[in-house]
Amino acid sequence: MANSTLVLITKAPYGLEEAFAGLRLGLAMGVNGMKTSVLMMDDGVYNAIASQKAEAVKMPSNMEATKELYDFEVPVYVVKEDLDSRGIDESKLFEGLKVVPASKVKELLAEHDVVTTF
């Protein structure tokens, strides 16, 4: 029986529905009280940028969808090396995110019963 879920967000926002869908899945688990974490990695780190403007493409905001997770104590991690390799400074991220080294990924994978990738 799975008591915890890790959601990997690997795709950038808006061009695909993947990242938003992953955030909603994380919310659905969190709402039910399951231990849930979200990890933004690879191009998924673009979801962490504070200046994103979903309204420009008439899409729901991935930033707001991420912040909704906080209400259910779902931590959202962002891989530092993936930010660095894309030239994204941590000062550009919105509040509440936890920037972690890539070495933390292995720990998170081990800490959760199931993992799903978006």
Binding site: R24, L25, A28, M29, N32, M34, V114, T116
Partner: protein, 119 residues
Amino acid sequence: MPKTLTILWRTGSMMAMDANVAVKLARAALAKGYKVDMFGYGEGVTAVKKGQNPKRFPNVGNELEETIKQGVSTAICETCYAARGFERGEEIAGAKVGSLTNDLFKFISESDRLVTIAR
């Protein structure tokens, strides 16, 4: 007590073989004695549309319906389904138009393994 596998598939019925792979995996797991649950999310919901009529490709709707008859619980995301213009009653027999919060949560919380099939 049998182990439980949940298959989360997120690609549609025609552009890729992913849904067909999900069905094959479900049947293989059943044959191994697993209890199997399947959840269609995003574009994956298109696989449960009844009346699919591909001329040159496997009919994943029929395959999925047969798999449900073999005992695989199958649900899809209603929000995704409605977003694509589908209505309740358009799905194959046995597929449940459900939700992440209720159905997928239940599937995952009862699972020993979760496999995601997507692109």
